[in-house]
Structure formats: C-alpha cells, structure tokens
Amino acid sequence: MKELIEYIVSSLVDKPDEVVVREVQGERTMVIELKVAREDLGKVIGKQGRTARAMRTLLNAAATKINKRAVLEIIE
C-alpha cells in the first residue's frame, strides 16, 4: 500500500527526497499519510483533485484485495 503511493508520488514531484509516506494500521481501515514539499502539493492533488482521486481509487482496489479499507490523507 505504502509502496504504491511512494512510487507514484515520487515519480510525479520535483522533490522526491521530500516525500514522506506513513502507514497507520487500524483494525478495518488503514490510513496512508502523505507529505510532500509545499510546491509539489499541486502535483499530487492534480487539476480538480483528479490525481489524488485516482490514487485513492487505486488504493481502494489494493485494499479490497485484503478485505480492508484504505484512506489517503494528504498533509498540508
């Protein structure tokens, strides 16, 4: 889960060194916290939030496979 977001985000941003992804495991839900450089925020959110939404969709597909729910939180 974490690796998926790490790979996508690191490929999209200008400052991959500043990408931090943390996985917080809950019983049913896992939260993926994502932090990027301030100027890269737009790149991970995308036009009208399309990139963030697409990442959430992929995350949910991956989580479904292991009967969980996954939430992507982008920390500003």
Partner: protein, 209 residues
C-alpha cells in the same frame, strides 16, 4: 511494422521458433502462413511450413509505458502480462491478469484511475505529452460500443420529441467518444455542459436552416 521469416516441420514449430527469435508473445505479433506443408528443398527436402511474422518495434515511449504499468500492477499485487503497440502518437497497452474485475472496477473507475496515473507518471519521467490507452481484457472497446449505443438512443429520443436530452455525467474521454458517435448525425448536435465531475453532454435538435 517489421517482419521475419521462419520455417518448421509444422506451423506451430515455425511460430515457436519465430517467437523465440523475437522474444515476443503470440498475441504481440501477426502470423502469415506463406507455404504450408511444402517441400522446403525442391525435390528431396522434408515437408515443412514457412511463415512470416509481423511485429511492432518497441519505441522508447512504449517501453517506458510498459514498465510503468507493470510496476503499478506489481505494487497492486496483481499478476499480469502487459503487451503494447504504438500507433501514430498513441500508446496502446493491453493487460491480461489474474484479476481483471478488480482492475476494471465499478463502471471502469479503477481502470480509468490506472490509466490516468500511468499517463501522469509517464509524462513526468519522459518530460513530454503522451497519450496512453490502457485496456484490460477488451473492456475499453466494449465500453466504447456501449457509449455509442447510448448516444444513438438519446439522439432518437431528441428526434422523436424535439426536446433536448441530458446524458449522465461523463469524464472527458467518455464525452469525446460520445461527441464522436453523433458527429455525423444530420438531425442532432451535442454540446458539453456543467462543471467538474458533473460535466456532461446535452443532445439537442439541430437548428432549422
């Protein structure tokens, strides 16, 4: 498109040899049988089959796109085989996997997300605008036919009533297919309306001339 010629005792053997030479899978190439069951040397030679195998040369864009999609699928823990081709400016990738339903998702939403993310990653690694068309088990083609069917149905409705009809919300790719489906219709015209996720197409009667 490039091709090579190969021969073998049977057609299967010839194909097998050609694929090994190219390092490709059968669904990535097109096979043409030149001579089946003919003597390979004029008088005495053993009987055999000669074939010609056509294949696409892998461009750097195609190779990069394939690599990205393979990586994403691996991270999604899906076992899959990705093949592709490049036609004009568009990269076409086809995914054969152990879980097509999961990858397509409700109303194709996961597939759309996968295609979108793969395109973004591809563009940012290659620093150019590229068009990537991702398909999973022919879903996109079936989906395009469904959309064209819906477009024709709504056009008939407009013809019958003369009133404008609004289609359900559609993403840009679907709107494009919808517009194309009715482009040559003499009676109706299409226009996009609404903002963001609710943006859709309105079909209305062409103004009287």
């Amino acid at each position: 498109m490039n091709w090579i010629e190969e021969q073998g005792k049977t057609k299967e053997e010839a194909i097998d040899r050609a694929l090994r030479r190219l390092g490709r899978a059968l669904r990535e190439v097109r096979v043409e049988v030149l001579d089946e069951n003919k003597r390979l040397l004029k008088l005495l030679g053993a009987r055999g089959t000669r074939i010609r195998v056509y294949y696409h040369v892998e461009t750097p864009e195609l190779a990069a796109a394939k690599q990205i999609v393979e990586k994403l699928l691996k991270l999604l823990h899906v076992r899959a085989d990705v093949v592709g081709r490049m036609e004009e400016e568009t990269i076409y990738l086809d995914v054969e996997s152990d879980s097509p339903g999961l990858l397509i998702g409700k109303q194709g939403r996961t597939l759309e997300a996968l295609q979108y993310i793969a395109t973004r990653v591809l563009e940012s690694t290659r620093h150019e605008r590229l068009r990537l068309c991702l398909d999973i088990g022919n879903y996109q083609e079936r989906h395009a036919q469904q959309l064209a069917g819906l477009a024709r149905k709504l056009a008939d409705e407009v013809r019958a009533t003369g009133k404008r009809v609004t289609a359900p919300p559609m993403n840009p790719a679907d709107r494009r297919l919808f517009h194309m489906a009715l482009r040559d219709d003499a009676d109706v015209t299409t226009a996009s309306e609404g903002e963001g996720l609710l943006r859709t197409i309105v079909v209305s009667a062409r103004a009287e001339r």
